[in-house]
Structures are given as C-alpha cells and as structure tokens.
Subunit: 320 residues, 6 copies
Amino acid sequence: MEPKKIVELVKDDQVEGFFSIRHKEIREYVRGRYVSLELGDSSGRIGAVMWEPDQFALDDLEAGMVVKARGVVGEYRDRAQLTVSRIRLAREDEYRLEDIMPHSPQTDEVRKTRLLALRDQIQDANIRKLTDRFFDDQPWLEGFLNAAAGKLWHHATIGGLSEHSANVTELALRVAQGYDFLNRDYLIFGGLFHDAGKMATYHTRTVIDFTDEGRLIDHICLVDDWVCQRARSIDGFPDKLLIALRHLILSHHGEREFGAPVVPQIPEAFILYYCDEIDSKMGAIDRIRSRQNGRGWSEYVNMLNRFLYFGEGPSEDSPQ
Amino acid sequence: MEPKKIVELVKDDQVEGFFSIRHKEIREYVRGRYVSLELGDSSGRIGAVMWEPDQFALDDLEAGMVVKARGVVGEYRDRAQLTVSRIRLAREDEYRLEDIMPHSPQTDEVRKTRLLALRDQIQDANIRKLTDRFFDDQPWLEGFLNAAAGKLWHHATIGGLSEHSANVTELALRVAQGYDFLNRDYLIFGGLFHDAGKMATYHTRTVIDFTDEGRLIDHICLVDDWVCQRARSIDGFPDKLLIALRHLILSHHGEREFGAPVVPQIPEAFILYYCDEIDSKMGAIDRIRSRQNGRGWSEYVNMLNRFLYFGEGPSEDSPQ
Amino acid sequence: MEPKKIVELVKDDQVEGFFSIRHKEIREYVRGRYVSLELGDSSGRIGAVMWEPDQFALDDLEAGMVVKARGVVGEYRDRAQLTVSRIRLAREDEYRLEDIMPHSPQTDEVRKTRLLALRDQIQDANIRKLTDRFFDDQPWLEGFLNAAAGKLWHHATIGGLSEHSANVTELALRVAQGYDFLNRDYLIFGGLFHDAGKMATYHTRTVIDFTDEGRLIDHICLVDDWVCQRARSIDGFPDKLLIALRHLILSHHGEREFGAPVVPQIPEAFILYYCDEIDSKMGAIDRIRSRQNGRGWSEYVNMLNRFLYFGEGPSEDSPQ
Amino acid sequence: MEPKKIVELVKDDQVEGFFSIRHKEIREYVRGRYVSLELGDSSGRIGAVMWEPDQFALDDLEAGMVVKARGVVGEYRDRAQLTVSRIRLAREDEYRLEDIMPHSPQTDEVRKTRLLALRDQIQDANIRKLTDRFFDDQPWLEGFLNAAAGKLWHHATIGGLSEHSANVTELALRVAQGYDFLNRDYLIFGGLFHDAGKMATYHTRTVIDFTDEGRLIDHICLVDDWVCQRARSIDGFPDKLLIALRHLILSHHGEREFGAPVVPQIPEAFILYYCDEIDSKMGAIDRIRSRQNGRGWSEYVNMLNRFLYFGEGPSEDSPQ
Amino acid sequence: MEPKKIVELVKDDQVEGFFSIRHKEIREYVRGRYVSLELGDSSGRIGAVMWEPDQFALDDLEAGMVVKARGVVGEYRDRAQLTVSRIRLAREDEYRLEDIMPHSPQTDEVRKTRLLALRDQIQDANIRKLTDRFFDDQPWLEGFLNAAAGKLWHHATIGGLSEHSANVTELALRVAQGYDFLNRDYLIFGGLFHDAGKMATYHTRTVIDFTDEGRLIDHICLVDDWVCQRARSIDGFPDKLLIALRHLILSHHGEREFGAPVVPQIPEAFILYYCDEIDSKMGAIDRIRSRQNGRGWSEYVNMLNRFLYFGEGPSEDSPQ
Amino acid sequence: MEPKKIVELVKDDQVEGFFSIRHKEIREYVRGRYVSLELGDSSGRIGAVMWEPDQFALDDLEAGMVVKARGVVGEYRDRAQLTVSRIRLAREDEYRLEDIMPHSPQTDEVRKTRLLALRDQIQDANIRKLTDRFFDDQPWLEGFLNAAAGKLWHHATIGGLSEHSANVTELALRVAQGYDFLNRDYLIFGGLFHDAGKMATYHTRTVIDFTDEGRLIDHICLVDDWVCQRARSIDGFPDKLLIALRHLILSHHGEREFGAPVVPQIPEAFILYYCDEIDSKMGAIDRIRSRQNGRGWSEYVNMLNRFLYFGEGPSEDSPQ
C-alpha cells in the first residue's frame, strides 16, 4: 500500500516516509534543546517537532535535504503537526523526486504537446524560427518543462512554469477572438516566453528557492537576454521585430511599480499583461479554494489583503 | 448625394449640414467679438469659429442644440477647423439623431440579439428570472440599448453601453473556458449588468454629459438599487444569491481607489473586473488606433500616461 | 457579592464566572495537548490556558459559546492570564447577556431619547417621513439600538452604533453653528443613518464578527438599499431629495481609497465625513486613554502608525 | 456715486477706477505688441487688455503696482474682460488700500474682540501669559489682524488669517463639548496660533504673494520659533508645557505628506487638525458657492479634483 | 563677425542665420493662415512666427530640418520671439552642426580623456577587458561621445551623455573614499555604462527625440543586452561577475517606480543610484541657475514641483 | 583576562559579566513563571531566559538597569541565548559605561578633531560665529559627542551622532568638488548640525530610547530652535543668512513624506539631503555586512524591503 501523502494525514496517523526539509530550527525549552522542522512532499507541507533530537538532527540536518522520517500526527494551532521519533538522510535510490516535490497536475507530455501546438500556430517565419531556437534546444526545453513559476503563490510546482505559459497563451488567443486588430503571433510568442526567465530564477531540486541571478537580475531581464542572443543567431532577423518581441516581454508586468522596465505601448502587450494577471490570480485562488474544499470563507490572504469566499458551493448537496 | 461627415472633411471643403453644439464660447479680439465652437456629428467633432457672429450666435446658441451650419474648412494647430458663415437652429424634422450623435457600429438589432443569446445561456432559474425582470421591461431595454458607456474614453456612442456589456460577457465566458470552477451564470449576470447604471449616469440626447445622479451616486450604486428592487419583486429570491449578485456589481472596479465600494472576494468578481478592464482598454485603444490608420505612434494619451505604438503594420504597403 | 469583571482581575485572584469564547486553539507541548483561549465579558478580554483539557474543552468548545469557567489569574508577557481548571457550557438562564458582551456606557433609553430628539429637529416633511419609516419600525429600531459600530476599533459595544450615530449628528449640528449655509436636515439624516448598515454588517450576539453581507456588500451599500426601499414607499418623495440623501450616505468615507463609492460633492457631505472621522477617532483614542488611566505614552497603535501621549495629566496626583 | 467694484461689472460698463496689478504680460499680434493684465480690487479680479499700449504700460508697469485705469467692459471666454484705453500709476493719496485689496467681511474690531474673548477663557496661568506675550505686543497684533491666510484658496483676504484663527478656535471648543477629556486651553492656544506664521509667509500690501522665508521655512516653523522665543522670556515656563504647545502647532497639518514635521500624538492635536481642515474647506467652499449664487454645479475645482453641487437651493425661486 | 546665438538675442535685433526646426504648426487667424515655429541653435531655442508664409513654409517645412531664416526679434508673453520674413532649407555645406545643436561645454577630446583615465583605474582584468570591448570599438566610442543624456532636463546636449557618465564615475570614486568596503571597479564600470543605452534611445542629429527602441525598450535594457553580448565574446568571463555588473546597470534607477527592473541589492548599486541622482539634479539645477544669472527665484519647475532659489548671490554686485 | 563580549559568545560558554536590560517580560509555562530578557553590552544584544527567577528578577528588574548576570550560552531559533542562573543589580563602580553601551569605533578625541577641522574651513564670519556658539559651549559639545544618531538602524552608538555628522560634512565637501557653484560654508554648517537635534531626541544612558520631545517635536525642529536662539545672540546676524541656514536643516529629509517641513529649494539643500541619505544607508549596510562577515546574502532587511548581497567577496579564501 502506498503511504499517505502529507495532505491526507489526520490526527493519530502513524507515519513513515520520505520528505524534503524546507526549514529547520533548533530551539531550547525547559528540558533542553529540540528541533522544529517544516517537511514537504509532493502534496504539501507539514510542521514537525523532534523533542529528543539525536546528533544528526541537531548538527547535520539542513534545508534542502531529503530524509526518511517516522512519527505520529498531532495538532498545533489547529493544524496537523508531526511528532518525529526517528529521522535519517535518504539515499537517492530510495525515493522518487516526484513524490518529494509538488508537481503540475499535467504530465510533461501533456504540457509539451500544448506548447508545440501553440508553436505550430505561429504564421510569421521569423517568430517561428526564433521560437524553434528555444524549443529545438533539448536541454533548454527540458529545463523549461521542469521549472516552477514561483515559490509559493501560483504554479509553484515542478512543471508549473510551462503549465502557466501554455495557459496564458491559450487564454490570450481566446481573448483575441474579440479584437481582430491584434497580432496573434505576438500573443503566442509573448505568452510562451514572458516568464521563461524563471527557469534561472529558482532552484527547484528538492525545494524551490531563489538563485543569485534570480534576485539580482530577475526573470524579465534574464529571458530578454536569451531572446536577443538567439535572435542574433538567425540571419536577417528584422530589427523592428526584435524590438517588438522584447517589448512584449519587458512590459508584461504592466506597471513600473510591479517591476516592468517599460509599460505596455502596443495593444498586444496590454493583453499579455492582463492574461498573465488572470492566470496567476486564478492559479492562486484555485489553490486556496482547494484547501477550503471549494466553499466558505478562506483565512486572511496576505497577498490580496482580503478574505476570499467560495459560497456554499458545489459541496453543498453532499450529506452532512 | 449624402453630405460628408466630419471625419471625412478636408481643407477647402464647402460644408452645409447638421451638427450638435458641444461647446460654445464668446471671445474678443482686436476687431470685436467672435464665437468659438466645438461641433459634433455621428462621426466625430471639429473646432469651428464664426468671426462675425449674428445675434443668434452670440446670445441664444448653447451647448446641446442641434444646428444647421454653413462654412468652409480651414486649419488651426494642424487640425481641420470650420470657418462658419451662417448658423441657425435646426428643426426636429430636418435631421436624424443618428446622424448627429456617434453610434455603435452594431445596430440595435445585433446588440439586442447578442444580449438575448447570452441571457438564454443562464441556467439558474432565479438569475434568469431577475434578468428577465430587466429585459422584459421594454422601456428599460430600449434605454439600455440607447445608452453610452462613457463621455469620451471608450464606447462613448449611442448603443455603446450594450455593445460593451455584450463584449464583456462574451469575453468572460471565453476566459472561463480555462477555469472550470467558475460559475458561468454569475459571469453572465455580472457582464450584462455591471455598467447598466450608466443609463442614468449620462444624458445622451445630442451630446453625452453627466446627470446629477450620475455624479452624486454614480453608476455602480444606481444599478445596485435596481437589482435590489427587482429581486425583491420575485417570490422567494434567495438572500444569499442576491448578496452574491450585488457583490459582483459592487466590486467590478476592482480596487477601492477606482471607486469600488468593496473589492472582489469571489473568483467570478475578479474575472469580471479583468474583463471590464480589457474591453474598456481595447475599446479606447482601437479608437486611438483608427485615428492613426492603424500604424505609427499616437499622440500622448493622457488617460494612459504614455504614447501608443501601432507598428509599421498592415496598412503600410496597402494601396490607398 | 458580584463577581469581578475581567478588567478588574489581578494576579492570584480565584475566578469563577461566565465568559464568551472569542478564540480557541489546541496546541501541543512536550506533555501533550493543551487548550489556548481568549475569553470575553462585558468589561474586556483575557487570555486563558487549560493545561489538562477534558474532552469537552478539546472537542466541543468553540468560538461564540458562553461558558462557566473556574481558574486562577497568572501572567504572560506582562498581561494577566487565566489558568483554567474547569470549564463547561453555560445554560441560557444562568447568565445575562449584558454581563457577557461589552455595552455602551449609555442605556438604551438614553440613546433612544437622543435619537428621537434629533429626529424631532428635522424641518423638512419628507426627510421626517423617511426617518420615521425607520424609527417607527420597532424591530428595526431595536436592532439599531443593539448594534455595534465595529469589531474592535471604536464603539465596538452593544449599543455602540446608536451612540456613535447620535454623537456624530449632535457634533455636526454644533459644527454647523459656524456655517449658516449648511442644511441642518441633511446633517441630521446623514448623521443618524450613515453607519446604520452596520446592523447587518456584524453578528453581535456573544462576540462581534462579520456577516457574509458585511464583507461582500459592506455597510454603506446595505443602508443605501434600505433608504431607497423606504423612500419609494412614501408617496411623492422627491427624486432630487433622494439623490441628495443617498449622496450623503454614499460619500461619508470621504475618499475613494477609504471605500466611498463617490466623494463628497455637497457641503454637508464634507461636514458629515469630518464629524464621522472625529467621533471615530475620539472613540478609539478614549478607549486607549482609559487603558492608560489617562496619562503617559500608549503602546504602539497599529491603526494609527504611532504612539499616543496623554501627558502627565490629571490622574497623576490623585490618590489611588 | 461710489464707482462699481469688479464683481459688479457687466458688459458695456464704462469704467474708471483704481486697481492693483496682479499680472502683466506683453504679447505680440499681427499689428504689433499689446499688454495683457490681471487687475484686482477688494471685490475680486478681472482680465484686461490694452491694444495700443503707451510707453508706461509697456516698460514700467509691473505686478504689485496700484494704477488708475479707464476702459470699457467686454467679454472673453465667457468672462468679463476690461479693454483699457488709459492707465497710469496711482498716487498713494488717491485711493484707500481697503478698496484695492479683498478684506475679511468682519472688521478689525470684530475679529480682535473674538480673539480677546477666546484668550480670556484660558485657565492655565502659563498659557495665558504666553498668549499675552503675543497679544500685548501691539505691532505683532496689528500684523496678525492684517494678515491673509492664503494666496487664493481660503480666507485670502486682509484680515483672513485672524478670522480663520478665531473660527478654528471657536469650532474646536464646540467640538470639545462632546469629549470631556480634552484640554480646552490647549485647543484655544493651538487654534489662535497654529497659522500665525502666515504673517511672515506672505506679503500682503497690494497683492498677496510669498516672502522668501514663506517658501524656505514656511508658516509652521516660523511660528514655532516665535513661541519658543516668547516662552523663554517667561520665568519658569514649564518645559513639558512648551513641548505640548509646540507639538500642537507642529502637527496641525495632520500627516507628513501635508507638511507636518510630526503627526498628532495627543488628542487635542487631532481635534486641531480636523478643525483647521473643516474651516479651510468651508471657507473655500463658501467662496465657490458665492460665485454660483448658492446653487447648481460649480466649475471643476482643481484643488478638490471634483465638481461641487449646491442644489436647486433657496435662491432658485427668490426674486432677483 | 559671427552672427549672434539665440541666447544672445534682444528685442529689435535683425537676424539672419541657421536654425533647426523643433516644432511647426499652421494656425488660422482673421486674415488667414500663419506659421508658428520653435527654432533652435546650439545655444537654446526661440519661438517664431511667420505671418505671411510662402508655399515652402506652409507645405514643406517640418521638424528636424535645418533652415536659413531672416527676421526681427520681438516679444511674446515676456519672452523674445522672432518674426520671420524669409525662410528656406539650408544646404549641408552652409552650416556646421555644432552651431545648430547644443553641445557639451567640454570638447570631445576632454571627455574622451576623462573616460580613458577612469578606464585605466580598473584593477580587475575581466572588467577591464569588457570595458575595452566598448572603448576599443571606434564607431561605438564615437557614438557614445556624440550622444545626449536626455531631451531637455539634464545634459541634453551633444556630448552630454559622456560628460554625465564621467561625472558620475568620478563622483562615485570621491564618495567611495569614505567607505572602504566598496569595490571601486564596480563603481567605475557602473558609472561609465549605466546610461550608455541612451545612445540608442535618442536621435540626436538636428533635434533630440526618441527612437522606437528608446520608447519600447529604454536605455537600461538596451545597454544590458550590449553588456551580455560583449561579455560572452570574452573567453572565461566569470558568470558571477557578469551577474554583478548587470545588476549595477539594471538597478541604477533605484526604485521600481522609477523604472528599475530590480532594486539595488549590493552596496555599490546604492552608491551608483545616488551619484546618478546627484549629477542629474545638479546638471538640471545648474541649467536653471544659468537662466537666472545665478540669483533670485526661478520660475516654477514642473519636474521638481517647486521653485528654486539661488540667493542674492555672487552675481548681485558684480559689474556686468 | 577580559570577559568575552556578547558578540563573541558561542554555545556552551560560561558567562559572568555586566549587561544592560533592554527588555524584560514575565511569562508563564506549565511549571510556573519564568523571566524572558534581552541583554545588551557594547558589542550587541542577546536573548536570555531565567527559568527559576528569584523575587528580584520577578519584581524589581526593569529595562534600563545595569546588572551582573551569570549563566551558560545555549541556542534558540538558531541564535545564541543565555540561560541565566543568577542576576543582581550592578553597582555604579563595578562597571564602565563604555562596556555596557555600543560606542562609535572612533574615540571622542578623533571625532572632536574632525568636527573642529571642518569648523576651521568656514569662511563666512557669521556662520563661523554661529558654529562657535555651539562648539564653544562645553556642555553642549560634550552632549553632542556622546549622542547617538538613532535607536537601531545606523550609527546607533554613543558617539554615533558626531561620527555621522562629520561623515556627512566631509562627504558633502567631496561631492562639491564637482560643482563649483555650491556654497561650501552652507554645506559645512548643514552637515555639522542637520541631525544635532538627536541629542535631545534620545536618552542614551544605558539603552537608547525616545524622549518625550523626541517624539512630540523631533530632531529637526529641536535643532531649528537652537539655531534661532543662538543666531539671535549674535549682533547683526543677517536675517537672510539665518533663513538659508534654517532652510538647510529643515529640508534635509528631502521629501515631505519623510518628515521634511519644507523641501530643498537651494542647491546645497539637495546635496545635504543626498549626503545624509548616503551616509545613513552606508552606515546601516556596513552594520549588516559585518554580521555577514562581508559576504553572502543577508537576512531579509525590513527597513529596505529586500535582501542584501555581499558577493563571494574578500573573506572567502582567507584562512579562518
């Protein structure tokens, strides 16, 4: 029988499984020192405490490690908490990374198919060539398919970046059905690559965290450089086109105070900004909604400065 | 032969036609007083000057009147300007209002059909009944079909309000294709009625201007009241549903500083806000784009604090 | 002998009394689980802890209940804290709600008399009729007299809403003595009803918390609807007057970023905004001042982003 | 017969009178140069134009002068405009300054009586002494009684500063009737002196304009220095009291972005801030209201970012 | 005799010289059409008017042209204005560009020497190599030496960009004398190249105006791309170093709302931001100061939302 | 052997020494009450806990006292924490204040020498006299040399105020080398005295905390008063000069929202603002940098809303 995932744990469950270490702290109480942890797996995260830590737990354990832990589920501040009795480093052959890290609900294959289908809709030969310079680069594509779109807020999963990129592009094309003056190739290119710099913004092996260049340069200018570099490798790539494509990416945060070096000045850049906003917000809202089983009021959402409400909703007619 | 519309006038054209008076001022120069005007018709507006005004022009002429004017087209600050030689009040049987006021590019019939088709997609019996309380009220529907969505910025035409409302609703349904947890009935109701209060916000007979309640109450609370009033006329209309529908309308400006008495707290309210933003912005951008023949840089757009760029675009090498 | 109120408790007091449960949490420590509580009565709130909770405390106890609790007063982070030894649900006939919930220092009778006296100063027959539509509605009036004006910040007591409403109205009339062009009937109506929607914004039985419509519609649009509904029930109520009265209520938060759907545009609306500001701020400041015994520096006040100072003041040399 | 004031002029009036020069510009048109002026008297201001200026008008005339001018009233952009035929410098014995500059509707005597009556209500001996240090200083008092509270927005008249100061103080005392914990002496001192620095902020001889110290130091720190200086001249003036009085003055703009070096931290400082706000706003609104004869919509008010509405009001059916 | 420069012109001067056309408008007045112009030369700009324009002036003249014009100096709104009697296109061999466009007070040679001296202080071999990749590229260096740092505000002259870049770098080194932990090579590189993208942001032939990429990409991302491109051409250029150098450039606007894609996160980036601020502000202030002859109050400076004051200063009693 | 300073303590150290009490709290846990403390010495601060407090620790100990404490170093939340076994009040003759409070790395003598050297560069006789009125006042000078420039952020040490003042002045003179129109005497006076009011803003005996006047008046207006007072004691001190010097001090926070009663309006005031910004920021950054041993990423810096990065820097390959 498959062991339970973190999200399925309930009080008094006996647990033995593999987890990533997301945070570790040593604290002191009246009887001495204990270890406070945050553990993660592909389904979520859980607080943990080890009251009588051994030398390994005190000295060697650190964030980013994958461990095998045993314990029992209790409760702290109304949330499940694991009281750990034993913990050790896991060997790489004992666990599968996809059990340790949250991953997109869509397989690599599904996401790749969506991306390629969008690529195939590009009409302009130069934009198509430039797109291929990325998609035909296998290591790049693999990196893109494995990247996350964020640390916590939305699509913060392995594969989340490519899922979000496909979502935004498809959404932009649906929006464009109402406005015939929009250049669909611009929307596809912008949708596919606007956030691609996040590949280099985060480490995403066992936990998601910022790289140096993620903080010092950020995803917008990271991908801007890649686009310039590859466009230059294409003979006769038109200057004016490169300017337009760079503009789409550079302006996609919409306002300077959100980190856009330039604001949208062409119609397609406005659409890209709104579609990115919509898919990010819906991704985050859906994540919060799932924790609520799709109904009632959420806890206070700091990123939005408000509570969210999901009505008496779909679960309403379930027997209670 | 049909007389030329304002938008078609070029230098040295002899003009005789019907116009609304949008602004009037009396000014003095070295030889005495002259009258400065802004004239409008269904295609746009033009500055005008009457160097030797008669008593009617000086004393009786005022904004909102429809006049018959004769003159010749000159230029001032690089824009066409009409030098008026004769002007008099028009009789109501001399002109058609649709020639005087800008109107939606879609006919009443087309817009009505779009609205009813959207109405027919509503699944929930109560939302459908409430919608019918509006749409089955002929004077209301006629008012809605004739209203403008603004004074200048977007859909500022007779019929512009219903065109924009249908646009937003259809757009919201297209967006919702990517997010299956969204309640489509909420989106349809919100899309159709979010701006309906603008019917009472503007006078739209010969020029578009604010009513007293338009300024003192504004469109959001105007339609909120109508929704409450009609929902109460339906036996057993659920309280919780009315709260949700009011919330959709009250929150559709998205942020308090944009005039929303409450911020979006249900997923559909976020979508409605974004779709209203997109269609308003695209409406305004398309209007600016048309003045540019779809290419090059616009003049500075105050409402956006930037210039807009339409590329070297499709019209460049097309024969004209 | 009457048992001590929360505000009177000092270290080492033995306590046995009735309290509302404001928050409850189950936490874990080295010896197992304990229950952390916030208890309230009419005088204030106190943190509490039950180190060896029974089944009732662990499983059934929840926010909003009224309980009978026994314990001893200790200290935590320099504040009094109750260590609870026994706790059980209270029967409705054991306690009086006025002992459980904070209430206005003025009796219902006093507040009602103030409101009616203000009502009697109204000159305009229509405004008087509309006011009577509310005040002659006994359940409405009772609800109004029992409502709170907030959760925590100012007048957060049973009766606080009507106390604040009378304060603001009387204050507005005093301010108006200096400005003879102000319409006093507008000030009375606006003062009495500006916050009345708070009746439906909060539950106020044993604790004060938001209702669904409180969050999704908020008090401004709630009362706006009631005003419209009742004005329509009066034959020949003038349209222009209804617009002005709605404007007073809708604009009383003064600025859009404070949640006003429209900003003040008539002189009386400015006065109403300032008087609401003054009485809210003075209500909150007086509450903080009381905790300081009227002197010295307060703790940091988050809502104001500053410390408050009450001088070396009157209480310094008074015998204690 | 007394000559007409500017505010009474109508088209075609023949004018001969004394005016201050508020602005002067030389412009060029097809026939050569002309002089464009803004003239003022105690009732208001009027634009003026001199088509065939003499040497004096071209070379010597400048802002701040008082002139005798002759001309006829015309119209420009819907406002009255004076076409000047003759203009010369006025001799000091030809005119009374009170005819040239706008002045408070209350006489010096009335304002002085109000100020002294307020002073007499002060209970605290030290605050009284400090107040007397100002009021017993005849040149200071005379300067205070002759000063303006601003250039244009509110109480921008000779005597306007003392009128506003008396208003704010009396208002603060009326507000304080509802809050018994407020120190009335603080309110009186703060009300009387909060804006007194404006005496040195503006020149107010023939036009109102900034002094160097008005711009470089501003009225708040100007009066703060005077208070320190005079308090030190009083034996045994308590340090703590001086701190409180300085705080009242320094914080009366309420927020740092409005120029307050510190924000209000004592209850009386909040009241002073609100009362200053109310009287300034009412002063400005009443000025605008008068231009409207007390009804209808104002022109757009830039300082408030809105239009103001004065209803169909009392003046509508009154005979005029 | 050398003809007078614009800045030297006084009323009644007879003028014949070469100018760039900065703006052109056709306007209409009672006698027909006239042409309104803004002319520029190396010393400044002047308004001009041609009352009886010929066909060339009406139809062919446009912004960016260099013309030969004859006329006489008058005055309009207190500023000198040229009344043009004859105007024609200039031949390229008739004028020197340095007479037409404002240029840096320092010669190319001086600026180049300053830049190279700064370059020579670089210690790190890689940073030196990268700097040489720019400075050894003759066309690039020439472009850099000829570019402007802005359209109007500061260093808006031919050569202004390199002058400002040298200023900022030297200033940063002087600042760094007080903080020994700062990396001087970072400061030199950042100072020399932070604004270099402005070479491609403006056209600077006969007038300074934005290029397409200037608006759509802006100078920060333009130079970021050049740095990446050239660093990649250097064998073994360290990744970490490239990240740091890009960070210096990308963050030099200091805050996101000023257009920085990332905020300063290393100490040198803060210094660079402040030094750029100081030299820009001093450049603009000195320009305004010169128009004032170094004393008195300036006109209102929109970019700073204030007036500037230069005291009664050194020039007051000096003979002129 | 000198006992270890707080900053040198490592786990398991036995400690006996003198400390200031920065915070004290009594808390309750399952076994009763314990005391939680923050202790400070000249090198930094450390959390401490006393599990079995005696009567002195429970009842008498309070913030600001200097104590002798014994204990052992443990760890809590990854930081060192002292478990205190004995604590008692220190006698004044047992410790040196310079061991208890953090002090500037420069001696009094060094700072005084720097200040006097700067004073000696003043050319203007009046500015020099005014400066001497401060520096020749021994108690004032001693107070200035002993004051801190803040509670925590930068130069929060005994002597920090004079160190920062000398830094800013020297920096301003280095900056001024590039701009010859700047008045160096203004820069020296402004640099030396801009923050001098902080002498009265903080108590700095055993801990640094706000005085009443520090909060209610703040350092800017405190020193403004001192300057006025002393300038008046100088015969014939020019009014215009006093206005300029006051302006420099009053505007040195640069923007109203940062607490400047007026914004910079003379060139030297801009320079002073920037130099204060630079030295404050560098002071704070260097403090954070030291905690990092000059490399890697800092913890999140709340005051800057960002992380700081110090590179792989100089300390990396040094032997440790």
